[in-house]
Amino acid sequence: MSSSIIDELKKSQILELLEQGKRIDGRALDETRELIIETNAIPKANGSARVRLGDSEVVCGVKIQPDRPFPDMGDKGIFICTAELLPLSHPSVETGPPGPDVIELARVVDRGIRESHMIDLSQLVIKKDKSVVGVFADNVVSDYDGNLFDACAYAATAAILSSKTPKWELNDDIPTLVEGQESDVPITTIPVSVTMGKIGNHIIVDPNADEWDVMDARITITTDSDGNICASQKGGNDGFSMDEIVRCGEISIMIGSKIREKLKQVKEGN
């Protein structure tokens, strides 16, 4: 998108404030916006969450159903996470096939959860090589105020934590539902994604829409419950120094552990 005069003015204002250690919405540089998680928002789904991160809002529904395994992964269940921007989320969103930004968003959110091995997929096998359980976490963005990477990741994680999986048995090679045998989804860790923006030489956590529009580069880092780093993605039209990348890793661990506490409450409340 070509930068308008408004963007230029906004950028210089944001930069000026950052020089004084301030942000446009009054937050500290390493402070996230308020995170509100409401689970079981969609009772027809096997698990769901409605998450507000500042004014970005995402609804995630988890559907759990029998599926055929991937040919080379007959002993593992399936996990797929998607993300989509609804046309009502922002005036610039158009209907139609997703563009590169949205494809990247969906893939980064999926990768963070997948690579953390949050769901123990080996426990989601009905019959090896024949039939497995698939967990599908679909995010829809209903309101936009920047940093959809984290908003979608938190929504998907919360929705998975709140999910109950039904039980199936194989009858004549057809998976049949066993009534009244719901259990928790097997969880091994709670991944937390933390996205940081770089504006000038400043690193800011959880950029809002104004900051998102003007930032030079960004990095999303996902950490697991053990404080390990399990996924990362750099984006934007500038680069990071080695020191900045290492510092972003440290910030993601620190901020991640705070947000993980919030997600744990979802698990405990389930």
């Binding site: 080379d72 590169p100 930004d101 893939r107 990362s232 750099k234 039209n237």
Partner: protein
């Protein structure tokens, strides 16, 4: 992917990897600048068993017109894999993976190119993966930088790329296809060696904070090896192969 059990010994007791390399040894790399007649700039890279061709056009008129920017030229990148480049035929239509890789490569090259002298134009980078064997995005990015330089596009620095990863609990340089499938982590890095800036960074796989740092350091060492070969490729084309670096 990843985490699949297999018979493959990824790292033996002598610290030798499944393809005979040491932990800090990249695969065989060959970069050639030029080669295509019609493209304004081009490059060919062989990175292990990866074979990738890159052609650059521009600065030229922008189509569709609404994409053009009155302040600066724009950079566009298409990363594409041929149907025959992998063991099972790949659908020739661009996949979501290819669209994402096109985007990250574009954003890795963007800090290096200076396009504000060419407003309302586009520089198009076409990356064609003829054969893929793990680490295509790094090989493609390295070749694309050479092709941009070959096209005479003003640049602040080259972007060199190499992956590091974790295999059998050890941080290794330049993860190959087997190691990517069966290993523990893969971290592709794109780096501008003179400006000391990381312009591409992805990671999948679990790393401790110490391993994360070591991986970045290891990857940057690989980028510097690639950088020397990029310079040599351009030197060979423009100053004859007699002038060794």
């Amino acid at each position: 992917m990843g985490g699949r059990e297999s018979e493959l010994v990824l790292l033996d007791e002598n610290g030798i990897r499944c393809d005979g390399r040491k932990v800090d040894e990249p695969r065989r790399i060959m970069i050639k600048a030029g080669g295509l007649k019609n493209a304004d700039g081009s490059a060919y890279i062989e990175f292990g068993d990866n074979k990738i061709l890159v052609g650059v056009f521009g600065p030229r008129d922008v189509h569709p017109k609404h994409m053009s920017n009155t302040d600066t030229g724009i950079l566009r990148v298409r990363y594409h894999m041929e149907p025959f480049s992998v063991s099972e035929r790949k659908n020739p239509a661009p996949s979501r993976r290819e669209i994402e890789i096109s985007k990250v490569i574009k954003e890795a090259l963007q800090p290096a190119v200076i396009l504000d002298k060419f407003p309302r134009t586009a520089v198009d980078v076409f990356i064609e993966v003829l054969q893929a064997d793990g680490g295509t995005r790094c090989a493609a990015l390295s070749a694309a930088s050479v092709a941009l330089a070959d096209a005479g596009i003003p640049m602040r620095d080259m972007v060199a790329a190499c992956a590091a990863g974790k295999v059998a609990d050890t941080v290794v340089l330049d993860v190959n296809n087997e190691e990517d499938q069966a290993g523990q982590a893969d971290m592709p890095i794109g780096y501008m060696p003179n400006l000391k800036k990381i312009t591409l960074l992805q990671l999948d796989g679990v790393l401790t904070p110490e391993e994360y740092k070591k991986c970045i350091e290891t990857g940057i060492i690989g980028c510097k090896i690639v950088y020397d070969l990029q310079k040599k490729a351009l030197h060979d084309k423009y100053f004859g192969s007699g002038g060794e670096q």
